[in-house]
Every structure is written in structure tokens, then in C-alpha cells.
Symmetry: C2
Subunit: 400 residues, 2 copies
């Protein structure tokens, strides 16, 4: 354990253990595809708009009939009737004729422009006076003006949000081929653990990690299968791992906090696959294990909630992203450090901070402290090649 790998080496190991896009795609209904990632370019199969439409309330005309018209010398057109909304005009217009039309109405045959209502007068016997000339296609959206068949409307890899839904709906696309959500099995080990619904008697601790890690995974675009608590028994743990490997794409095992439990995990992984690393130089999170077991990537996370959380953020989420998960956008903020943060050279250190008025105040506490995360706004990473950070230094805060 003298030659513990760095966080970056750990991430590289994790990423190179799987093939890109290995978990495939699925069709998701338009109503459920918010936040999902398009697995392919989406092409239009139609003209949008599907016909030439008026963009105003007025009269559909042949533009050339209005040329030269003005307030003093209006063009005089014969009113042929009205185009009803949602209907095709069963008659077209000829030179010298016009039809009443509403915004969104379909332009009748023979018309190529619309004169706005306010530039007309119709209280004559079947005549419409036009007081202002219009050019061809004025006040009209032509068929296919917006989209023509074959146009790419959504690019592969786009994370779909409400702004994309309109264009899909307009094309009648009701199902979108999306990247599958990785399914992650969550297992907690430890003889000291009880479900969170129970009251801890002496020596027992509620199973915080299953609930917290499930939340982290859900928030980062994964589906979770919760395998609950497994006792520190090789047989039992091996059985659950085998089942989990069948039902998931990635396995997160957390705890037990005792050395014996940690060794058990490493042993089972080695016997049923390969152990890729046992610990990496990050604090908190160092005792994290990674390997392949029953042909699935398996992480053995520390038992302490904060350590398990940070290890997940640093080395598990990159793998899930690679597998197609839409993780939460990682946002950062620059702030001025309010006190010195010494650090061990050679080990990356993550320090929780609270932000106020551009100042980053470190929140200290052992990684066993559960209030550490909820009481912080983000964390600062002290590089392994750095001996610490100084008061007044501008630091990058990774927001939770």
C-alpha cells in the first residue's frame, strides 16, 4: 500500500475498465424524455409549417394586386369569402380577389401574401379596400419555412429539456431513442447496520449510505436497485453480489467500516473477477476499492457517509457518465479562502466549505460526521502536489 495511486489514475483505471456506450438505448415517450439524452440525431420527416400560413389577421391576396395602393388610392379587391381556422379553402382566389383570414389560417390557392386588417376596409358591397401594398409572402410563413424533411432537429447527445419538446411535438414525434439509464445496485455491508426505519439500540447504526447513495445516483440520472444490508459474511455477500451483477450495470458496495469487512470485499472481488485498485490517495475516500466481479464493475466504498459520498462523486460518477448517465451539471464558483488549509503532500484532499459573500469558510469535521455535507455549499480540492492553501487565496469551490 506504499504506492497508492492518485485520484486521476483511479479515474483512468475506472474508465478504461468499460466499453463506451455499452448499455444501449431505449425508446422513451415524449412525456417522459425530459432530462434524457438523445441517442441519435433526430431528423424531420415533414414540412413545418405543413402549409403556408398567415401570421396576422387580415386578407389573403395576390401581392401584385396591391402594388401602388395607398391611403389615398386603395386597391379594390373582390371579397371571395373567409378561410375558417383549421380548414382548407375549398375555393382559391383569382387576380383581383381576396379572402378573409385569421392568424394561423391556411393561405388559399392563388394568394401569396396577407394584408393586415388595419390596412383594409370592407364596409362596401362585396369589396375590400387595401390601403397599403404588401410584397410576396409578406405576413406569411411559407410551407417548410421552419423545417423541411431530412433536417436534423436534435443532435445526438442532446439532453432534452422543455425547449426541445416543442419541435418534437410539432413533428409528431412521440417517442425518442434515448441512452438507457445505468442501473446501479446499492449494497450496504456491516453487522452494525440497521434499516433507517428502526431505532438504534447499543452499538447499532442506521444504514445511511444506501439511502444517501441512492439519492446521489437518482440525482445523477441512474436507476437504483437497493439490495439493503448484508452482514459481514463471505457467503452472504458473495450471493448478493452475484444477484446484483445480474440485475445491474454497476455495483456500489459500501462499508463495512471495519477492516475485516473491507478485506472481505477485496477477497470476493479477487476470487470472482479482478481487483483493479485497493485504495487511492484521496482524503476522505482513501479505502475505496474498484474491480470487476461477476463481469460487472464493482466499487467498495468506505463506510463513513462523507467518504462514501466523495468517493462516489470523484470516481463513480465519471464511470456512470461514460455509460450514458445524464449527471447533474457540475458547477463551480470562485471564492476567497477565509483560513489556511494545510494538507499532506502526496494526497488529494477534499474540504467542505460554506460560501458567504464570495468567502469560502472551511467546515471541519471527521468524515464520520453526517452533518458535514448538509452543512456545506461545496468543496475545495487540494491537489496532491500542493502542500495546502493559504488565507486569502482564490479557490475554486465545487458546488454540491
Amino acid at each position: 500500500m506504499l504506492n497508492v495511486i492518485s485520484t486521476n489514475e483511479a479515474i483512468d483505471t475506472v474508465l478504461s475498465s468499460v466499453q463506451t456506450d455499452s448499455i444501449g438505448t431505449e425508446t422513451v415517450s415524449l412525456a417522459n424524455c425530459l432530462g434524457r439524452m438523445a441517442a441519435k440525431d433526430i431528423l424531420s420527416g415533414e414540412f413545418i409549417p405543413p402549409f403556408s400560413r398567415s401570421t396576422v389577421d387580415g386578407f389573403a391576396v395576390s401581392a401584385s394586386d396591391t402594388y401602388g395602393s395607398s391611403e389615398s388610392i386603395p386597391a379594390m379587391l373582390t371579397l371571395k369569402g373567409e378561410i375558417l381556422m383549421g380548414e382548407k379553402a375549398d375555393i382559391g382566389i383569382q387576380k383581383g380577389e381576396c379572402m378573409k383570414i385569421s392568424t394561423g389560417g391556411m393561405l388559399p390557392e392563388g394568394a401569396d401574401a396577407v394584408v393586415m386588417l388595419e390596412h383594409t376596409q370592407t364596409d362596401f358591397e362585396g369589396l375590400c379596400l387595401v390601403f397599403k401594398a404588401v410584397g410576396p409572402f409578406e405576413n406569411v410563413t411559407k410551407k417548410g419555412d421552419d423545417i423541411t424533411p431530412g433536417k436534423t432537429v436534435i443532435k445526438k447527445g442532446t439532453v432534452l429539456s422543455s425547449k426541445h419538446i416543442g419541435i418534437l411535438a410539432s413533428l409528431g414525434i412521440t417517442g425518442v431513442e434515448c441512452m438507457k439509464k445505468p442501473v446501479v445496485a446499492v449494497i450496504s455491508t456491516g453487522d452494525e447496520l440497521i434499516p433507517i426505519t428502526e431505532n438504534p439500540t447499543d452499538g447499532k447504526i442506521r444504514n445511511i449510505n444506501s439511502v444517501m447513495l441512492s439519492a446521489l445516483l437518482t440525482e445523477n440520472g441512474c436507476d437504483v436497485v437497493d439490495f439493503g444490508i448484508v452482514r459481514d459474511s463471505k457467503d452472504e455477500l458473495e450471493k448478493v453480489l452475484q444477484k446484483a451483477a445480474k440485475e445491474s450495470d454497476v455495483i456500489l458496495l459500501s462499508g463495512g467500516s471495519s477492516a475485516g469487512a473491507r478485506d472481505l470485499t477485496a477477497e470476493i472481488i479477487s476470487e470472482n473477477g479482478s481487483l483493479f485498485f485497493h485504495g487511492f490517495s484521496m482524503k476522505p475516500g482513501k479505502p475505496t476499492i474498484f474491480g470487476e466481479c461477476f463481469n460487472k464493475p464493482v466499487f467498495g466504498l468506505p463506510g463513513h457517509p462523507t467518504a462514501a459520498y466523495f468517493a462516489s462523486v470523484r470516481v463513480v460518477l465519471p464511470l456512470l457518465e461514460r455509460l450514458g448517465a445524464v449527471t447533474k451539471p457540475r458547477r463551480t464558483e470562485t471564492a476567497v479562502l477565509s483560513c489556511n488549509l494545510p494538507s499532506n503532500h502526496g494526497r488529494e484532499e477534499l474540504v467542505c466549505v460554506r460560501l458567504s459573500d464570495g468567502r469560502a469558510d472551511p467546515v471541519f469535521g471527521k468524515s464520520g460526521i453526517v452533518s458535514l455535507l448538509s452543512g456545506s455549499d461545496g468543496y475545495v480540492v487540494i491537489d496532491r502536489n500542493c502542500e495546502g492553501l493559504k488565507t486569502g487565496e482564490a479557490v475554486t469551490v465545487n458546488l454540491f
Copy 2:
């Protein structure tokens, strides 16, 4: 309509039409409370940790027994046994005694510190040699060190994320009182509309707005009841509005795009409640109507998707936020405008832009163009008191 109100006046009118927090709270299970807003301060009812725990693998001791010990002069303690994980030591220790303990193990009575494994040696007959002194509570988290009963662990108004779930789980809190999600009724009107699953024949257009607005509302922490398409008939629309008012907190009516349909909405609102404004000076989005109808706030949005979207973002979301909806964080970015944007003095204008390398390129298009939103990264607001923006000017881009 000469005196059209400004966007800010419209927002003020909308906000002052409802009482704060009028839609109440509900208990949400821990598994479902991600992204929900805590309706009350959450207080601890327990000590965390619930007992004093070891933070290392080693031997539980009375610290004073180790004072003065060193590599050359170890303290010699009688090994009383081992504390098993998840169990209370049934025997305590006396002066001169120690017990083996794992990380997370419960400190036995009589012990107040733990010596790390690597500073001990046990291959003696029932004796444990301690080569390094420890102070009281060294390598120990004391009962209640993290949290004591009565401590506020989550503040009212907190939007719950994975970082909060750990502390709630540790306290055995399985249900959280959250702000109710506002229920929004979405209704599309227009004789030209067909469901998106149908193919438009001449003159018909798919009902884009219901689908797009539902997505926008879902994304912004609301539950949606979709009332589909209603024809431009006063009777029919009135009936649907009455039903919607019973089943929702806020009603969004969109379209019809014709002037007649817009007048119909205003008429029904006036007859069954009050019309607060009919249009405000924003482009696109101007013809937006707001009022109270059957005792519920009702918006009459424009028929054009882009206009309906922007009107929702500008004047509907602030109301939903006031009612307790957890809206998407609004993020902005500063960019340099790549061309002049002239604007009509006296009217706020929203212009879609695409971002690349810190440059904002306006995306032009009539508000009837459905690809406008999906093809943009955000929008720039040109203030009503401004005559336009110039090439090279730094502008704030509101990201979608």
C-alpha cells in the same frame, strides 16, 4: 390598448393576485423528496452518533493508562476481549485493561480513547503493549458529537438534494413535510389544433403548446393536468375552465391564434371572475391575458409556441414560485453580442441567441417558428427603455 403595462407591472399584478403559501404542505417519503422544498425547519430528536464510537481499528483504553508510553517504554494493558461490530460490550474495562475494537465499534464502559492498531502489539500472553500515548477522546466520536436533540438539521425552504439525505437517514426521518407542488391545468384552444399523434391534413396544426408547456411546468416543479384541445366555442371552453379550476391551482390556456379565440378567453374570464390585464409590452408574448376565473388564476397565452414559452417564463413561473414550486435555477452568462439588435422603444424584447466562445449570436425568426427555442442556448432581454443593443456590447444571456 394604448396604455399597455410593462413586464414588471404584469409580474406585480400576477404576484399580488394570490396569497403566499396558499397551497399548503404534504409529507413526502425520504425516497421521493429529492428536489422538494422543506416546508418547516427539521429538528433532530436524537444524539448522532447515538453512542461513543471508535474512528479507527485498535484498542479501547482509558487514556490515562497510556500516558508516558513510547516505542521504548510501552504501556502494558490486560486484553479483556473484543467489541463486536453492532454490539454493546457486555463487560466494561477497568484501569489497566483494554478491549479490541473496530472502526465504528461502540466504546465500552470505562474506556475514553482508542489506540490505533499500528501503535500496539498483542503477541503476548493476554497482554497488549501500547507504544504511543493517546489523549482523552482521541480516535473517538463522542455520543452527540455531531448532532444533539433539538438541533435544526435542515432549514425551512431548503431544496433537498442528496447531500441532505444522509443526515435525515441518520436521524431515522423517513417522511419530510414539503411544500405541495402546484397543480397546473393546461388547456389548448383552437379549431385548427389536432393531437400530436395525428397527421395534419390541410389547415390543421399539431397541438404543440400543451406538450411543450407541460414539459416546462414539469421541469419547474409543478404537476400538470392536461385538458387537451378545446374548440373555439364559448360553452365548451367555459365548461372546461370550470372543471380545471376545481382540479388545479393555476390554469394555463394557450391559443387560439385567431383574434376571435383570444377575445373569447377574455370574455369568459370577465364573466366568471376578473380580467386583470389583456396584453403587456413584451415581444414575443404581448397578447397574454391574466385574470381570475372560477376563483383560480388563469393565464391566456399566445398561440405561437415561442411566444407562449416566453410569456410563461416571464410571468407564469414567478407565480408558481410564489406558490411553492421549486423552479429550475435561472442561470445567466455574459457574452459579447455579434451584431446590432435594434428594438422598439417602449416594449421589452426577448431575442434568442446561440453561444459560442463567449459570443452571443442572435437567432432570428418569427415567433411562429418552432425551431427557434431548440436552436438557441438562451435569450437576451432588451429593456423597454432601451432602443437596442450594439455589436460588441456585453450582454447578459439567460440560459434555457
